[in-house]
């Protein structure tokens, strides 16, 4: 007889509680965790990898595979699932970026295509250009600075949470974020008008 319970995807159960149910063999928990974690992890991986869908999906699938395998030995209260996943994705993405830089230089300059006959095409192009420029500038940052800026400003984590992901103290996080933002501003300095910021 199945013990499956009907857990809605928007359940208020914590990731850790769901993971415990998953480890106990509950198939509904497997589905709920997949629907909750996969979009979040994919978005983070894509931001670290400059928007490359194929690589972001590979990294996400690998990170979640490691989570499924770690579930039976997961000790409640020891680590947050989200923190653990951010750390694994950061490491996997860093490996990918290093391998990518060894094999091809400057492969991140392919900004998303926008149909120029669509309504609001100029605005969409500017928005796409902005996000493309940001992705390229982020990709050019040193690994730790990129991870700190993405976690702080795109994922919305607090400095202590980022410290837990990166394994450093809060002061080091603040330093990484500040240096990363300065480097971003410098990288984008020459594109201000092209990105539609003139006169703002």
């Amino acid at each position: 007889m199945s013990m499956a319970r009907d857990i809605p995807a928007e359940t208020t159960m914590t990731d850790e509680a769901l993971l415990a149910l998953y480890a106990a063999g509950d198939p509904v928990a497997a589905r709920t965790l997949t629907l909750r974690l996969a979009p979040r992890v994919l978005g983070f991986a894509a931001r670290l990898l400059g928007g490359d869908r194929a690589e972001a999906e590979d990294v996400t699938q690998e990170a979640l595979l490691r989570l499924w395998r770690a579930a039976p030995g997961w000790r409640a209260g020891e680590a947050k699932v989200s923190t653990w996943l951010y750390r694994v994705v950061s490491n996997l993405a860093t490996d990918r970026l290093r391998a990518r830089s060894r094999h091809r230089q400057g492969a991140l300059d392919d900004a998303p295509e926008v149909a120029d006959d669509a309504p609001g095409a100029v605005a969409q192009m500017i928005e796409a250009d902005r996000q493309g420029a940001l992705a390229r500038a982020l990709a050019a940052l040193p690994d730790r600075q990129r991870e700190a800026v993405v976690l702080r400003h795109l994922e919305g984590l607090s400095n202590p949470e980022i410290g837990a992901v990166l394994g450093v103290g809060v002061e080091a996080v603040e330093s990484l974020v500040a240096r990363g933002k300065r480097a971003l501003a410098q990288a984008l300095a020459g594109q201000r008008e092209a990105l539609g910021y003139e006169g703002d």
Partner: protein
């Protein structure tokens, strides 16, 4: 680019979903999850626990040796009636026993047997 522009750009990026997972991708992730999931402990039917063995009591042993409780009860009842009759010597049955005993005392199974035992 100044700090204000950079903060606006980062805020825009934060509200823009980087990628939306496709159904095919979610299916692959879910397939991994189910393949790696520990199997749910199978529901083992609980066998009814055997009652603890108890040593038979004296009464049970006696009744078993005499062929069961019914026979023992019958024997006990007959014994009690026998004791009662022997002790009270009830006169209520004399109408039956007197007639039977008086008749029986007069019966001679071999009436002329003494004829053959006489000498002469």
């Amino acid at each position: 680019m100044n700090d204000r522009d950079l903060d606006r750009l980062l805020a825009e990026a934060r509200t823009t979903p980087a990628l939306t997972p496709s159904d095919d991708f979610l299916s692959r992730v879910l397939a991994d999850a189910l393949a790696e999931q520990p199997r749910m402990a199978a529901a083992v039917p609980v066998a009814p626990q055997a009652a603890p063995q108890r040593r038979p009591g004296l009464w049970a042993a006696l009744s078993a040796s005499f062929g069961g409780a019914g026979l023992v009860a019958g024997l006990g009842c007959a014994a009690m009636i026998g004791l009662a009759v022997g002790y009270n010597n009830p006169s209520a049955l004399t109408w039956l026993t007197d007639d039977y005993l008086s008749t029986a005392s007069g019966i001679e199974l071999v009436p002329a047997a003494d004829i053959f035992m006489t000498e002469g």
